[in-house]
Amino acid sequence: MRGSFSTITKMLSAGAVTAGLLMSFPARAADDTIKVGILHSLSGTMAISETTLKDAMLMLIDEQNAKGGLLGKKLEAVVVDPASNWPLFAEKARELISKDKVAAVFGCWTSVSRKSVLPVFSELDNILFYPVQYEGEESERNVFYTGAAPNQQAIPAVDYLMSEDGGSVKRWVLEGTDYVYPRTTNKILEAYLKAKGVAAEDIMVNYTPFGFSDWQTEVSAIKKFGSAGKKTAVVSTVNGDANVPFYKELGNQGIKAEDIPVMAFSVGEEELAGLDTAPLVGHLAAWNYFQSIDTPENAKFIADWHKFIKNDKRTTNDPMEAHYVGFNMWVKAVEKAGTTDPDKVIDAVIGVSVPNLTGGYSTMMPNHHITKPVLIGEIQADGQFETVSQTPGLVMGDEWSDYLADSKDLISDWRAPLSCGNFNVATGKCGGKGTN
């Protein structure tokens, strides 16, 4: 049995490598183009989410070329397929930087894939724009985090549920998929809830495996936990494919949003596309962008997207907006620096401000995170979200959570002279360690 399994693995990675090679565009050694790497899985489990981001990047690059390119040169996309295989992410990143000589890379979805490419980016000194909400506890010189840190999504979402508008929730179920993002986020949330005076017996934490599909026991446990006479809500960090059966079971067991609302951090328009959302109206999600946002920028973005993808039904989502913001920031920083040299761009991009799709501006902060508005949306019968609450201003991404003992003294500032991603203000030394 052992023999056959390792053979399967070999076979798999061999197949993936071949597929990857076929996907990557032939590298043309031309000086009149600037190459941009796109590192998103186009096959395997994560293809469901990441393929859309690859298409969004191709669209953004097309548009930039239509506007006359960058520094008088055309942009050229180099697409590779890391096939949802974490070690392959590192290999593909190395290939993009060393062989294709890309100026910057836009990519990764899961935290584990990001962790896998980090050493490659610092060794070869290139730039990664990472577009997905994540657990924080990290700030790297070569990485720009355009997705939400926990304080730009999780904490405001919980605040909303605690508020009168959100139903003054007193009892909490933290339901997540068993991997690093939910575990760290739930650790932060648990500490935050306890700091807000929630008793330990009013918090239930539960994890399920990736791709979990039999939610009967979990949903009935939620029902049971919710019948203790206090207003209960579920905070869900359930990821990807497992969401559809989860919501189907919620609907079938008759849990209504008015009674036990579910606040999700990983459910966007894309995930809802596979669901009949009528029984789910009122369940919530916290993001920094919704397709339903009514701004001229967003209307144009959606129209461009539909035209590019040639399908009016395709949705837009939060990580796409993060790429939109990140790509425009990179373009502006390259223009500011006058070169695509990663070292210069890394310095130039701090402080760059570009319009986001929600009608404001997002700015790259010295900790390599950006400012964003936080939106709470309710699921509607048409599969879209309706914003029911919005933070009054922009929220700055906080990479080191203030609610975890390990990281509360850490800050990050990549400007000279500090140039440190984990500076401990208590000891005055660079090199602190967070929770993971």
Binding site: S4, T7, I8, M11, L12, G15, A19, L42, S43, G44, T45, A47, I48, T51, T52, E164, D165, G166, G167, D178, N206, Y207, T208, P209, G211, F212, S213, Q216, T217, E218, S220, A221, S227, A228, G229, D241, V244, P245, K248, E249, N252, Q253, G254, A257, E258, D259, P261, E271, A273, G274, D276, P279, V281, G282, L284, E378, Q380, A381, E386, V388
Partner: protein, 592 residues
């Protein structure tokens, strides 16, 4: 019944006029109804000092009257009042302003507000930008049909850009639901009355007692009456009624014995003292012990349901792997093809024959079988037949085929989930005692057992099944008896694949329809077949259900992640002890 009769019923002496004296909110607009009333309000009402309380009571009495009289259409004056209030929705700028308007509407006590409030809760209430008038909107094609909020009559169309939706959130929806609960107590449809009683049970309020008393008095359906009495008891608990009333109420709520009762009693226990607290504590203990039993029953049901899913996923593999001995790693992709066939069938039905939607799964079944069987046939003829007797190569080749199929589906349909709807007969749930059984799970169980029975019949009672078993038992002997073994191989593989395809139809109801669908089931399927005993259909059945039940009993204690690990460890140990699984095949074929 032990609870006291309502104030109104106890002293029906005062003339109705006394009510009109101190309240003109709505009674004045309907003098006719008061005169007609067969149960005039009691003296206690007119002697109340507090203006607010009297308003509430009057409203309650008004409701009573309405209930007794049935739905009378509101007079013009009242309608104008309602319209004036509804118009305020247009200027409500935030949720609390909207909620204030809702409360004002409910305070009129007029059942006519049910329509606009219901529409608001559904998110169907709109304001026309041009004249700030409020309408109920029903999307009809590209435009929205505007209906009058009170009469429901059509009053024009509007483009989506000409109207603004009045936003609702959960708090508002809850407020509307609670308010409608009181208003729909007198509805003609017993289901609406049950829903009202349920809502009022969950949101007890002392002001509910009066309308509930009236509703109980006029209720003719026994089961609804019991629910109404429980709802009344819940409201008594939060009122300032005497202790004896409350004790009776605790007994009544305790008798209900479900989680809602538990939730209510927990709150009562925390907020009361003395005899009531003790009674509540006792009732809670009682409910908890009953619920513990139901929990065990629930685990068994969940286990059976998980088992039926495992059985469906594995039963095709029991043919291709179990009977033929082909390690078919592309089995999961056959399931996926079945699910995608369902999706395509539903798309066609949605676009061309919307009336047939409830039949979509029935229509999809033969198609899914054919599609998967055909693909299976091609795989067998194209790849597997060259690899019989070489298990490792078969494994690698079928794995390759599975990757090809996945990527092909991804290219054709896109990487995202596709929406497969539940037909109405597979949506929702029903209760057996405290056990919530969802319809889709129940149907999947029935379906899995049906497929199993059919397959068993084919294998044991048909000539084809006989040939299949003969080829498996001794290929050369079968061939010399004149059986065309290559065709039997091909058809057997196609049968196994086709069965996987119809499993996909069922699984599309509970899982994602995405290119990765099959990946989630392949390990479980092999687990079931190996555990049950290779080559034995009954083994697959017993294996699937025992794994399902063990899994579901472990899950509440160990959690889903650890539960799965424990099950795997148990299987490894079991296979060490009995390498051939639960039901080992005996005879010559095993040694061959």
């Amino acid at each position: 019944m032990s609870q006291p009769a309502s104030a109104a019923a106890r002293e029906p002496t005062d003339p109705p006029g006394s009510v009109v004296d101190f309240s003109t909110t709505w009674t004045a607009t309907r003098p006719g109804e008061l005169v007609l009333s067969s149960s005039p309000p009691g003296r206690e009402v007119s002697t109340l000092k507090s203006r607010q309380k009297s308003m509430v009571l009057t409203r309650a009495i008004g409701l009573t009257l309405l209930l007794l009289l049935g739905m009378l259409s509101p007079s013009n004056a009242a309608e104008a009042d309602l319209r004036a209030i509804i118009a305020k929705f247009a200027t409500a700028s935030n949720f609390s302003a909207t909620e204030a308007v809702v409360r004002e509407l409910v305070a009129t006590g007029d059942t006519a507000v049910e329509r606009p409030l219901g529409a608001l809760a559904e998110g169907d209430l709109y304001v026309r930008k041009a004249d700030s008038l409020v309408f109920i909107g029903k999307a009809a094609g590209g435009s929205v049909a505007l209906l009058d909020p009170l009469s429901g009559e059509k009053s024009g169309d509007a483009a989506k850009s000409e109207i603004t939706k009045i936003k609702v959130n959960n708090t508002l929806r809850r407020a509307i639901r609670d308010a409608l609960g009181t208003l729909t107590l007198g509805a003609k449809d017993p289901a609406a009355r049950i829903a009202a009683a349920d809502t009022m049970f969950k949101t007890p309020d002392a002001t509910n007692i009066e309308p509930l008393d009236a509703a109980i008095a006029s209720e003719t359906v026994g089961s609804v009456k019991a629910l109404l009495e429980q709802a009344r008891a819940a409201s008594v608990m939060v009122s300032d009624r005497p202790e004896a009333d409350k004790l009776a109420a605790v007994a009544l709520i305790g008798g209900r014995g479900d989680r809602n009762a538990l939730s209510l009693l927990t709150a009562v226990e925390a907020n009361s003292e003395g005899a009531v607290k003790d009674a509540a504590t006792a009732a809670i203990a009682n409910i908890n012990s009953t619920l513990a039993l139901w929990d065990a029953g629930q685990n068994i049901w969940y286990g059976i349901s998980l088992g039926s899913v495992l059985l469906l996923a594995a039963i095709g593999l029991a043919i291709t792997f179990g009977v033929m001995g082909v390690i078919n790693m592309a089995h999961g992709e056959m399931v996926m093809l079945g699910a995608y066939t369902t999706f395509v069938v539903q798309e066609v039905i949605r676009n061309s024959f919307p009336g047939l939607f409830d039949w979509s799964l029935v229509i999809a079944l033969p198609l899914a079988f054919s599609v998967a069987a055909l693909v299976g046939l091609v795989i067998e003829r194209g790849v597997i037949r060259f690899l019989y007797g070489r298990p490792l190569e078969t494994l690698l080749a079928t794995w390759g085929v599975s990757l090809i199929l996945q990527q092909a589906v991804r290219t054709i349909f896109g990487p995202t989930n596709q929406e497969v709807g539940n037909p109405s007969w597979m949506s929702g749930s029903f209760g057996i005692g405290q056990l919530a059984v969802t319809w889709n799970r129940l149907w999947i169980l029935v379906f899995a057992l049906g497929v199993f029975a059919v397959l068993l019949y084919v294998m044991k009672r048909t000539p084809w099944g006989l040939q299949m078993r003969a080829v498996t038992a001794n290929r050369r002997m079968a061939a010399s008896m004149g059986i065309r073994t290559p065709w039997v191989d091909a058809l057997t593989f196609a049968l196994g694949s086709g069965i996987a395809g119809i499993a996909g139809v069922a699984l599309s109801q509970i899982d994602n329809v995405s290119p990765n669908l099959g990946r989630g089931y392949i390990i479980d399927s092999f687990m079931v077949v190996v555990f049950g005993g290779v080559g034995n259909l009954w083994g697959t059945l017993v294996g699937a259900f025992s794994l399902g039940i063990v899994n579901k009993f472990l899950e509440p204690y160990a959690g889903a992640v650890l539960g799965k690990i424990v099950v795997l460890v148990l299987i490894i140990l079991f296979i060490q002890k009995r390498p051939r699984g639960l039901f080992a095949l005996k005879g010559r074929s095993v040694e061959a």
